[in-house]
Structures are given as C-alpha cells and as structure tokens.
C-alpha cells in the first residue's frame, strides 16, 4: 500500500501515530519517553531485549511491530543505539518551560559537542530550527552509534529528528 514512507522514504506523523511504538502526546507531556518509528514488519527485535524495564514488546514472530508500554518506559534511551534501523528516539517534553530534549542516534562525523549550536532537521532532512547540543553519549556499549541529545523549542518536538549532516568530518586526503 502506498504511504509517505514508501513514496518519499520517511514516515508521516499519521503513519507513526497509528503504530504501536509511538507514544501518545499526553504521555510525552509527563516526562521522558521512547519514540519508536518502526512501521514496517521487518524481522528484528533487539529493542525488546535492550529495554531493562520490559517496556518494548515484539514477541513472536519477530516481524511484529515493536509495541511501547509507555507506563513502563522511563525514556532512558538505552534502546536508541541498539536499534539496527536507527529508528528509536527519546523525547523529554519536561526539559524546560519552553524547550524539549530530543535524543537520537548519530553515526556521522564530526560528532557534535555539548554546547554546540546546530541545525535541527525534520524526517526529510529539512532545516527546522537552531538547537543546542546537551549531551553526546558514545559509550562502548553503544557500539559506535553515538546518541546525541539536543534542546529544541517544544513546538517542534514532533518534527525534529536529527541534526544537519556536515560533510567535512572525515578529513578526506
């Protein structure tokens, strides 16, 4: 069936909201929560085994869509670097009065640093707003998938999913 995802390469908010991994708005308002943007039945379940609280359920068969139990989820973000599809984010709408904190996987160079001001982009890579880098986690357990957390204006929380890629990080000689 044609969808935004299969036509353009990224899912629409409607596609995401009707999937079992996307938390309800009311839940997101209460505190940090995982946002799973996995809407096709592909054979994959590392998110389920990654969650220390059992908040993500895939079950058998492993092509089931991951279902988020938003009551169990604390938005810790452990699942973010474990998703082979880089399709899990974490959102904290309570970060401040005006800003939300968004965590996302990042496997490009250069790695941003805390305090950097970077361009936040939407699912299609379009610039949305300026954002401030809060944290960059690149622990060995992440296996080379860094997790970057940025602060963005709350009104863009459903839209922003990453930062603009820069192409000068590899020192091509």
């Amino acid at each position: 069936m044609p969808s935004t995802l299969t036509t353009f390469g990224y899912p629409s908010l409607d596609e995401l909201r009707s999937s079992p991994g996307y938390p309800a708005r009311e839940r997101a308002e209460k505190g940090p929560v995982a946002v799973i943007e996995c809407v096709q039945e592909i054979p994959c379940n590392p998110c389920e085994t990654a969650c220390p609280r059992g908040a993500i359920r895939v079950g058998i068969p492993i092509t089931n869509l991951p279902a988020l139990d938003a009551d169990k989820c604390t938005g810790c973000g452990v699942c973010i670097p474990k998703c082979p599809g880089l399709a899990i984010f974490a959102l904290d709408m309570t970060y401040s009065a005006t800003e939300a904190a968004l965590s996302f996987p990042h496997e490009y160079l250069p790695l941003p640093r805390p305090g950097d001001v970077v361009v936040a982009v939407d699912r299609g890579g379009k610039a949305v707003c300026a954002s401030r880098v809060l944290r960059v986690s690149d622990r060995p357990a992440n296996d080379r998938t860094a997790v970057v957390t940025i602060a963005i204006p709350k009104e863009h929380a459903d839209r922003v999913r990453g930062i603009a890629r820069r192409s000068e990080g590899n020192d091509i000689g």
Partner: protein, 372 residues
C-alpha cells in the same frame, strides 16, 4: 592431489557457516575463496544487522565475519584464500588455481566426495548512455572502496536503485564523507526497508520514486547525469528531466545468483524472479540434483547475509549426514533448529515473498534432489 571430506567454495557467511557445522561434526573440511580474506561481502557490511539474538542482531557485519572466521579455525577448517576453483570434474575432483593474486599461480586438484557451493551473487547492471564511463560502478563496488579500502570513489553521488543495497550504501557513502545528491528509483515505491530510507532522508537525501537515469554525462569520467520522472509505462514524462551533478553514479539494481560452478557441476537449474534469477534447484536440506553437491546462501537464491548463514548451517549438517558423521535423525533435528531461525527471517512484507519462492523451490527440489 589433496583429499578432504568436504570442499566448500566461497568463504562468505554461507560457506563459513557450512564449514563450521561440517567440521564440528568430524568432517575434514577445506574452505576455498578467490579473495585474500574470508568473510565474503560481510567484510564491507559496517552496519548493525537485523534479526534477533540468535541471528546476532545488532552486531555489525564486519564483526560477524571476524567471529565466523575464528569459529571456523577453532573447528579445524582448513582455509585456502586466493584460490579460484575453475572446474568441477566427475568423481569429486576440483580444479583450482592458488596464488593468482599474491605470489606465483599454481594449479591444484582437490578431491572431496562432498561439495558445498556458496559462491554468492553478483550485482545486476542497468544500461543507459554513458553507463560504461569511469565513475559509474556497482553500489557494492563503491561499498568495497569506502569500507574495505577506505578510499572515496566520489564526493557527489547519484544512487540508482532504492533497494536495501542502494539505501545502505547511500548511508555509508555519507558516513565516509560523500554527499548523496539523490536516490532514483524506477518503481513508484521505495524498494528497501523504510528504516534505511528514513536514515538517509534525515540526512537530506531525496529519494525520487518513479524516476530513472536517462544518460550519464562526461568524456573520460562522469560529470553528472540526466534524470527524469517516468510514468506507469516506464516512459519519461516530458518536461521533467533535469541534470544532477555527480562524480559517482552507483548502480543498485539487485543481485543475481553466481551459479556458474553449480552449472559446471551439472546441477539442474530453475528460475525464480523473487530470488534473483536462475539458481541451482535444491531441497530443504540444501541438496542439489547432483548427489554430494550442496548449495547455501545467495547462489541458491538472493536473500541476505543472515539467511545465507542459516542455509550454510543446514548444508553443513546435510554434508555431515551424507558422510556418516551423524545419523539421519540427528541431522533432521539439527536442521530443524536452523530452519526455524530461517523461517523467522522470511516473514513480513519483505520476507514473505522470499519464503513463498523458497518453498516452491523446495517443493520442486524434493523429487529432483536425491537423498543420501
């Protein structure tokens, strides 16, 4: 003349897994590969794999290759790199050339009563004016250059094809420092996994469905390409063509089984469009129509590394059964475990067509492939 119980050709995930399973059951196994290093195409798969824990999901392909190689050596597999098998002769003899890439080439004859063909697949091409110019290459070729050789084949890339290979290589070209100008896809929908497409979309790469390449520009190297929208009958829509500047055009138009040795061995061939084209007929135990000859991995139908690995395990178990290293009941039980892991990968909208195609092959093969 060198004698082994089992000769395995191709040291990718299928061949490595087959060798491990056969060697662990007591077979003397020789694993040969024309390349200098083992791992097949795993050596350039730097992304984390899908699947579940038992498929090593979440592990990068390059790390899976290292693990399999170690397991093979620990199991006692003899590995000959830089060995090109050119002939399969009656009575279980193989003709090969060793040392073609490094050192002095010399011919050898290997005798093995059981043969496992794990020769993989080759990339399909797409013809358009200018496609033979330097700067146009297979997506897999570009992936080899960036991830194995660490050399960037171009800074501005046009990717042709949106299957998983096209999407993954686009992503990895950006990880290597290139810019991907666009992905063009002739079909009206993205071919590969949505999560792969979403990754490159977030990086700002437009995925242009219902688009094709009309020509590549350039005299001795490409400088760009003309692309256009196409309609339902694959005809370019007037007024939609435009130029994309690029110094690299990658072709990701799918793979086909690399089955020439299977044909040489006399294996009955069959055709499956869902599995990439002509492939050696085989049954569920990976037996071909020729007694003692087994297949595993993409040569028996193009799927993915994780499925190739499980097929390799099955072929290794079947070879051990044929050689009397395990009984029929044990072999059936061990194969069932691998089959369950295989089936779990052949589900969902992407896996189900491959499952159906494989079942059809198995059904046809059940009568044509003799049991030991």
């Amino acid at each position: 003349m060198t004698e082994f119980d089992v000769a395995v050709i191709g040291a990718g995930p299928a061949g490595l897994a087959a060798s491990i399973e056969a060697a662990r059951r007591g077979c003397r196994v020789l694993l040969m590969d024309s390349n200098l290093r083992p791992g097949g195409q795993l050596v350039k798969q730097i992304h984390k794999f899908f699947g579940s824990k038992e498929h090593r999901a979440g592990t990068r392909g390059i790390d899976i290759a290292v693990g399999l190689h170690r397991e093979a050596l620990e199991a006692g597999v003899v590995f000959w790199p830089d060995t090109s098998v050119y002939g399969v002769f009656p009575g279980g003899a193989l003709g090969a050339v060793r040392g073609m890439l490094g050192g002095e080439p010399r011919g050898v004859v290997v005798r093995a009563s059981t043969l496992i063909l794990a020769t993989g697949a080759s990339e399909n091409a797409v013809n358009f004016p200018g496609w033979t110019l330097p700067g146009v290459m297979g997506a897999g070729a570009a992936q080899t250059m960036i991830n194995v050789e660490r050399v960037l084949p171009g800074r501005k890339v046009l990717m042709v094809g949106s299957g998983n290979v096209g999407l993954i290589v686009s992503y990895q070209l950006m990880q290597a420092g290139a810019d991907v100008e666009a992905v063009v896809e002739a079909l009206p929908r993205v071919g590969g996994y949505g999560v792969h497409a979403a990754k490159i979309s977030r990086a700002g790469v437009p995925i242009l469905t219902s688009h094709t390449v009309l020509r590549a520009f350039g005299e001795t190297e490409i400088t760009g390409a003309e692309i256009a929208r196409i309609d339902e009958s694959w005809t370019p829509v007037p007024g939609t063509s435009r130029r994309v500047d690029a110094d690299l055009i990658c072709i990701a138009a799918g793979l086909r089984p690399y089955a020439r040795l299977a044909m040489l061995a006399g294996c009955r061939m069959t055709y499956s469009s869902a599995l990439g084209g002509w492939l050696p007929l085989h049954d569920r135990a990976m037996r071909t129509s020729v007694p003692g000859v087994y297949v595993a991995g993409d040569v028996g139908g193009v799927e993915e590394a994780s499925t190739a690995l499980e097929e390799g395990r099955i072929a290794g178990i079947s070879a051990s059964e044929r050689l009397g290293m395990i009984g029929a009941a044990d072999a059936a039980r061990d194969r069932e475990e691998a089959e369950a892991r295989l089936s779990s990968l052949r589900m969902g909208p992407f896996g189900r067509p491959r499952y159906d195609a494989k079942e059809a092959i198995y059904e046809e093969g059940a009568n044509a492939c003799p049991r030991p």
